[in-house]
């Protein structure tokens, strides 16, 4: 009996229970309020629906809290009790081994197909199910009790002059506030998880060695000098910006100063398609077309240089994946970030400034170069900074096209690795969370987070501080 209870689909059941209790309570409250309305001599403060909502709140909020608590603690509770009851022979298992054993017990219990396993395992699985059933029954009983109590309590408070609406609206405002608070919680979650795992990492490897070491060999867990990764990230972002900054800026200037409204209405959305294409598509493009093309070009360059006696051995590395390929494609991806933000700020420059320049006899390009761009400069710089931050944090293009060897090389045709590439390759293996390999990924993530955050903050500051106000 208990074993069957242990296999209840609690997730769905809890959701259903919340819905059932909530709607039942709502109707009970509403009916009661309508009855009050019928017999009341004075007018009610709130409409019957609000009384219904009020009762429903009292019924469902405790249920939701218990459900969340169940989701978090039920498994741990069952496991800790089960561990206490395990035969003494299990005492020599390490905590990790014990956890994986319990995990297999849970899996077997979920499928109810432990046939063929040894008898100890079967007995433990059955006991697990019994304990789980106990927890489930307890939770359900508690839920029923709380919901019934809530309904009873709330029903008794309903009076014609009861200010149900005020209560409900305060409750809703709290919910709204909590939703907004998720933003803080997420940021806190990011900062805390990155910091926590990084601190664990820095207990094993010193932060100084991590930030200044020049040898990165995390897969063998030997060397954690992240400087080559910083270099690779910087190099590829630099190449990307060398592509994106001129193209994006000139596009923006052309669109806002030269293009006809019709051309602008067509070109601008098409440019923004570039921002909507998933980065994995860019990565595939880089891998399929750009990287082989660059390799061929580099080999041709090497051969030509040797043929004309300019060099005795190949100058360029000409590797199948290269920083240049990743950087070029990333540059294309970043173009719309530069162009549409710059376009906005250039458009915000008032027409009177341009008219004044024309009146002095300036040509259009002189007006753009000497009046419009300087006036829009803070916004343009902010756009460039945001684009750099985007390029630094970009993952898929570099994972697919930049390579994996951590080295410091000025040759753009050699393969370089970046922070994001290493995070992906460290986190996709089957390693535990106490491994320095995994932990180093969090340390890299922390660096990435801080750097991109700094770029964003500086960009916002630049806009705020140096923006000219023209009205």
């Amino acid at each position: 009996m208990l074993q069957q209870l242990g296999q209840l689909p609690m997730g769905w059941l809890l959701i259903a229970l919340v819905a059932v209790f909530g709607s039942a309570a709502f109707f009970m409250g509403r009916v009661r309020a309508e009855r009050l309305l019928a017999g009341a001599t004075s007018r009610m403060h709130s409409r019957p629906n609000y009384h219904g909502y009020y009762v429903a709140m009292w019924a469902s909020v405790p249920v939701v809290i218990v459900a969340i608590a169940y989701a978090i603690f039920a498994e741990d509770l069952t496991r800790s009790q089960l561990t206490r009851e395990l035969p003494s022979s299990f005492a020599r298992l390490s905590p990790a081994e014990l956890q994986s054993y319990l995990e297999s017990v849970r899996m077997a219990a979920g499928t109810a197909a432990s046939a063929g396993a040894d008898r100890v395992f079967q007995a433990i699985t059955n006991r697990y199910l019994e304990l789980r059933g106990l927890v489930n029954t307890g939770t359900l009983a508690l839920l029923g009790l709380l919901a019934a109590g809530g309904i009873f309590f709330a029903q008794r408070r309903l009076q014609p002059d009861f200010r149900a609406r005020a209560f409900v609206e305060n409750g809703m405002q709290l919910v709204l506030f909590l939703c907004a608070g998720v933003a803080i919680a997420t940021t806190a979650g990011i900062v805390l998880s990155l910091l926590y795992e990084s601190l664990l990492f820095f207990q094993k490897v010193s932060a100084w060695d991590f930030l200044t070491g020049t040898r990165w060999n995390a897969q063998t867990e030997a060397e954690f000098g992240a400087l080559p990764l910083f270099f690779g990230t910087f190099m590829i972002a630099l190449i990307a910006m060398l592509v994106a900054a001129p193209i994006g800026l000139f596009s923006a200037i052309f669109l806002s100063e030269y293009a006809s409204p019709r051309a602008r209405a067509w070109i601008k959305p098409i440019l923004e398609i570039l921002a909507g294409i998933p980065t994995v598509v860019y990565g595939f493009f880089a891998l399929l077309v750009v990287a082989p093309g660059i390799r061929t070009a580099a080999i041709w360059f090497n051969e030509t240089a040797i043929r004309f006696g300019l060099a005795s051995e190949p100058i360029l590395a000409a590797q199948p994946t290269s920083a240049l390929a990743a950087g070029l494609v990333m540059g294309i991806m970043v173009i719309p970030f530069v162009s549409s933000l710059s376009d906005d700020v250039i458009n915000a420059v008032p027409q009177t400034l341009r008219d004044a320049a024309y009146a002095l006899g300036a040509t259009k390009s002189e007006t753009v170069k000497q009046v419009v761009v300087p006036a829009a400069l803070p916004g343009i710089i902010a756009a460039l900074l945001l684009a750099v931050s985007r390029a630094i944090g970009e993952t898929m293009i570099v994972v697919m096209a930049a390579g994996k060897s951590a080295r410091i090389s000025m040759d753009p045709t050699s393969d370089l690795t970046t922070i994001t590439v290493q995070i992906v390759s460290l986190m996709t293996g089957e390693t535990g969370f106490d491994d320095p390999k995994t932990l180093s990924a969090f340390a890299l993530g922390l660096v990435l987070f801080i750097v991109t955050l700094a770029f964003n903050v500086v960009a916002l500051r630049v806009v705020k501080k140096y923006r000219e106000k023209y009205d």
Binding site: E169, M172, Q173, L176, F177, C179, A180, V182, A183, I184, T186, T187, G189, I190, S193, L194, P246, I247, G248, F250, S251, I253, L255, E257, I267, I270, L271, L274, G276, I277, P278, V280, V281, F284, L288, V289, I335, S339, T363, K364, S365, E366, V368, S389, G393, T395, M396, M400, T420, I423, V424, M427, T428, F433, A441, F442, G445, L448, T452, L453
Partner: protein
Amino acid sequence: MTDTVRTSAPSAAAARHLKRRRARDGRFRYYGLTAIFVALGALAVLVLTIGTQAFSAATYNVVRYEVTLDPAVIAPEGANRPADISRNVEGFYGLVRDNLLKTFPEAEADRVSRRELSDFVTRLAVLPTARLVANNPELVGSTITLTAPLNDDLDLYLKGQGVRERKIRAGAVSSVQGDQDGTFLLSGTGAFEAVVAGLAAGSVDRAEDAGQPDVLLTAGVSTGRLSDIGAGSARMELLTGRAQDFAQARPAARIIVSAESERTISDRQIAWVLALREMGRVDRVPRWTLLTNSDSTYPELAGGLAAIVGSLLTMLITALVAMPIGILAAVYLEEFAPRNRLTEFIEVNINNLAAVPSIVFGLLGAALYINFLGMPRSAPLVGGLVLALMTFPVVIIASRAALKAVPPSVRSGALAVGASQMQTVFHHVVPLAAPGILTGAILGMARALGETAPLLLIGMVAFVGDVPRSPADESTVMPVLIFSWSNNAERAWEPLTSAMIIILLAFLLVMNGLVVFLRRKYERRW
């Protein structure tokens, strides 16, 4: 006072200066134009390369096999329940292999050629037929046409992508003479002149170390390999069919540039697949399996169904979490929040979250959901929650803009007739802002649909052969499938990956089209 009007022309120096300035002006304009063309050109190249690749993967070659469903093979005594039949891959595969061996008896000669012939079909390709027979047991004993996709390398060869070859029509062969060593001497006046010329032309642009190119000669269903090629005669080693077919025929010669050892398919396989095509047993059909099959290690069987379902489940979770939270948070910030430090802090947080690299959210998901809360790896549930954290700042920003666009007169009007602030917002402001909120939410979801990096970190990159049935099952998503396919070495994965990209882009296009439609239909200026 006298007005002095300068009537004389500007000095020569000034004129030159003006000309230079005008030229500079023109150049500047062209810089802008060039920038636009470079950006649009890059987009065009990207779409065209992926589009053409995907186009070639939209169809594939299947081979038809007439097989008799011998009960002794596919439903032997003791294993003839439908469940057994549907799992009897070995039996059905045996039927197909026997059929191939019957068609090409010369493959019986040695183990190597037997294996080369069995490579035409992968074992699992007969699974749909096995299931069909299991569901219709009356078929057992009858003769059916079994259709199975051709091996991916041969498929590419028939599409003209796998192997570089040049086709040359040879002259008429007048006589075929058998020799003691099993080869044949073909002769005819000037029959091989074109072939010799083709070989000579080809040797110029070939690297020195590429070895001798193979020359195959095909007449009808028969194919042989040529050697000692002269203008009027050549020696032929028969690969399949009959030597008589070449007599009085004008066979087609194929000069295959790369040597046999450097190819994934052998000369014999080429000969057989050409013969199958000549027999009319090869059809090029639309590859619906791309949408109906799940991932496989064989490109000809692989499809994206599991990933598409995984993506939909993930998006469902993302939508269920990110949209309510995002919209309610936007309502709070725009309509209720007092102007204080806390509100400002929340706003700063939202703006920063929208700019945090996506991979950081993956790290958060791995640490929080998987390590701390012990949720399952690779599940759409976790993926959806991670993407929800990424998406809800976008939803908030878009929803706030939509709420802001609702004029204050609407609020004042509602408040004036006695509505509470909550009633004003939820009965009047939010419904009016709903189209804007919805478009913002869809755009956020579209971004989440294309996201790859954070999902790699929570283990959604694992090979998943089954369609997930609930958000807690192991699963993958479309962009991650694209990533894993692009890592595969075989050449056939490239067009497949492109096709999958087109499917993903189609989903994104639909979502963006929906946004444009909603905007057109509901946009109102106040």
